[in-house]
């Protein structure tokens, strides 16, 4: 489903991705962990071309994202993204957030877009909040609306960048529950997160990144219980002490 | 074209006249800016008295001058007062008109600045034994000014530009001198040069301001 090969990315003199290869199979859930600044977000943002890598190839669902002729907007519609800070549009209602791209990118009429938008809100359990603006919603609810905004477009892949790390602990569960349901419906997902419990329960594979490289990867049990590399051991030890 | 708008001969001839005008523009500015700041500070401090007997007249005063074009105020003083035997001259009229007009603007800015300082600052200062006026002078005002510095500078830019109105009441400032030189030479070069002088004088301030404003909006 995703084939990203040999990704390099610089920010000025800073070499942030140093030859990353990531393949994700259809219906697979890949977890990405690693210290802050190791390039996890940059990798994720390359996968929908919010960032353009300096070198490497990216093919998602058969579409070559690095090709000049590729319609990136059409491709992005099929690659959902959820951000750490939600990034809901504050001047629109929840339903407005969800329907904007349905109307402007997918070309749906208002009535159809609203029906689809309400269905998406239903899936995240917030149909009754359709008329609320982001300011009137809790953090957990905002993040679920953000997920609805992405899934309403029927993506083939979902990218999550630390979806729960801006949330109060008691609100994390509601967002993870929605992600778990997506997983059960067979969504292909790449998740940057340090929610170890969720990773153990739901991930097919855990990828550990450090200094712009993939250091080690494998099934959650292997990475968490028996990491091979010293850097992985140090990192796992650190987050488990919390 | 160059001969019309950048005639070197005329530039040379007009330069001393323009220089005298620039001197007056600067003199006018350094008179008017402190005057306006003083007036504004008085208004802002008056606004601290939360009595409705002060608040409403104050608001009316400020709105009056925000609605009144400064040129109209200037003409009113310059052309009106002589009818009852008061001759203030160009400089006096400009000074009074600007004191009234720009004082209202500075006052609004300083008031917003003072409002932006948390009451905890006053409470902390008073709890250490500072008097109300000491608290205002040493604790509140410095923070207030810093918080609204871009607005204060922006208004100061406007005040300096406003001095060009002096030309209408025969104050020999930069624009007036340029127009004199233009009518003597039948050539627009002096006005072009005056514009360049204004630009050279004020561009650094404009540049600085647009940086500060961008930063302020981004933070807010």
């Amino acid at each position: 489903m995703i084939e990203a090969i040999g990704l390099h990315k610089h920010f000025g003199a800073l070499h942030v991705l140093k030859g990353v290869d990531l393949r994700v199979a259809d219906r697979e859930l890949v977890f990405v962990i690693g210290p802050s600044g190791s390039g996890k977000s940059t990798l994720l943002r390359c996968l929908n071309r919010l960032e353009t890598p300096d070198a490497g190839s990216i093919v998602v669902d058969g579409i070559d994202l690095m090709h000049r002729r590729t319609d990136l907007n059409a491709a992005r519609r099929r690659i959902g993204m959820v951000f750490q800070g939600f990034n809901l549009y504050p001047h629109m209602t929840a339903l407005g957030n969800v329907t904007l791209a349905l109307r402007k990118v997918a070309g749906k009429g208002r009535a159809e877009a609203e029906a689809l938008g309400l269905a998406a809100l239903e899936r995240v359990g917030l149909r009754d909040r359709a008329g609320h603006t982001p300011g009137q919603l809790s953090g957990g609810q905002q993040q679920r609306v953000a997920i609805a905004r992405a899934i309403a477009l029927e993506p083939r892949v979902m990218l999550f960048d630390e979806p729960t790390s801006a949330l109060d602990p008691e609100l994390v569960g509601s967002v993870l529950a929605v992600m778990r349901e997506l997983r059960e419906d067979g969504m292909t997902m790449v998740v940057v997160s340090h929610e170890m419990g969720f990773a153990r329960a739901a991930a097919d594979r855990v990828v550990f990144m450090d200094h712009g490289q993939i250091v080690e990867q494998g099934p959650p049990a292997a990475i968490f219980e028996a990491p091979q590399e010293a850097r992985t051991q140090a990192f796992i030890g650190q987050i488990q002490r919390h | 074209m160059l001969d019309t708008f950048f005639n070197v001969e005329i530039m040379k001839a007009a330069w001393p006249i323009l220089l005298a005008g620039l001197g007056n523009t600067l003199l006018l500015s350094v008179t008017v800016v402190p005057l306006g700041l003083l007036g504004g500070l008085m208004l802002a401090l008056l606004a601290r008295l939360h009595s409705p007997w002060v608040r409403w007249p104050l608001m009316a005063w400020v709105d009056f001058f925000r609605a009144f074009p400064p040129l109209v105020l200037l003409i009113l003083l310059y052309a009106g007062l002589p009818f009852i035997g008061i001759e203030l001259g160009g400089f006096g009229c400009v000074a009074i008109a600007f004191f009234l007009n720009t004082g209202a603007y500075y006052g609004e800015i300083l008031r917003a600045g003072i409002d932006s300082v948390p009451t905890g600052q006053t409470e902390a200062a008073r709890s250490t034994g500072l008097s109300a006026s000491q608290t205002m002078a040493w604790v509140v005002l410095p923070q207030a000014v810093r918080n609204v510095l871009p607005d204060l500078m922006s208004n100061t830019l406007e005040v300096v530009k406003l001095t060009a109105l002096g030309s209408v009441v025969a104050m020999p400032e930069l624009l007036f001198q340029a127009r004199q030189a233009q009518s003597l030479t039948y050539n627009p070069t002096p006005i072009v040069v005056a514009a360049l002088v204004y630009f050279a004088l004020l561009w650094p301030l404009v540049r600085l301001l647009s940086r500060l404003e961008n930063r302020a909006l981004r933070a807010g």
Binding site: N48, L50, N73, R76, I79, G80, M81, F83, N87, Y89, P90, H91, L100, A101, K104, V105, A106, A146, R149, A150 | T4, F5, D63, F64, R66, A67, F68, P69, L71, V72, I75, L76, A79, G80, F83, I84, L157, K161, L162, A164, V168, L175, R179, Q182, P188, I191, V192, A194, Y198, F199, L201, W203, L205, V206, S210, E213, N214, L217, R218, G220
Partner: protein, 226 residues
């Protein structure tokens, strides 16, 4: 005559006022016309420039920043005089009305471009990213997501700036525009009495006090709220 009566006779002379108030009224219409033209063209072109700047074409943006800076640095009266007395030497003879309109519209364009641009850049980057990640194009993200938020931020500064520049219509009197101040001034020299000036001043207040009060309302309504 007592001093008070003399004062009234000088500044509030009923006969003079009765004679000249139609002129002042005519001046009011000219002022309104001029002000409307300045506001509409100035703000529209300022917004257009800000959008053009958002397109990010480097050399064009440098030119734009330079022109905007120049228009902010020059006194509006200097620009009016430059157009009215300067352009005839280049073969163009704009009327006083056109000169004043062009100068003030240019100034408002410059200020509003800065304000709109600051508003656009103040919208967090995440808003762009969220919009683009759902497949919206650059233009769609700008118009549907970023601009509505930017405009809200720009309303208070834009309102006060617009009022300040619109008052500049009085500068037209310097280049023979028969707006309020122009009418009042010529009435004063014809009647040897300053009452028309008082009438003119009142006319400005009638026009601008409601605008200032409305502006105050707009500023409190839109300030500090997201």
């Amino acid at each position: 005559m007592t001093g008070w009566e003399r004062f009234l006779d000088t500044f509030f002379n009923a006969k003079v006022m009765a004679k000249y108030w139609p002129d002042i009224l005519h001046g009011m219409w000219v002022t309104i016309e001029l002000a409307m033209l300045v506001v509409v063209t100035g703000i529209a072109s300022g917004l257009a420039l800000a959008l053009l700047r958002a397109a990010g074409i480097r050399p064009l943006n440098w030119l734009m920043i330079f022109v905007v800076d120049a228009l902010r640095a020059l006194p509006p009266l200097v620009i009016i005089v430059l157009i009215y007395f300067g352009l005839p030497s280049a073969g163009l003879t704009p009327s006083g009305f056109v000169s004043t309109w062009a100068a003030l519209a240019l100034v408002l364009m410059a200020f509003s471009e800065e304000i709109f641009w600051a508003g656009i850049t103040a919208v967090p980057r995440g808003q762009w990213e969220a919009a683009r990640s759902t497949g919206l194009s650059y233009a769609q993200a700008l118009f549907h997501v970023v601009l509505p938020q930017a405009l809200r931020l720009t309303i208070p500064p834009l309102t006060s700036r617009t009022i300040a520049i619109t008052k500049g219509t009085a500068l037209g009197s310097v280049v023979a525009v028969s707006e309020i101040l122009g009418q009042a001034s010529s009435a004063v020299s014809n009647s040897y009495n300053p009452s028309p000036l008082i009438l003119g001043a009142a006319a400005y207040l009638v026009l601008f006090i409601p605008v200032v009060v409305a502006g105050r309302w707009v500023e409190t309504r839109f300030a500090w709220k997201k």
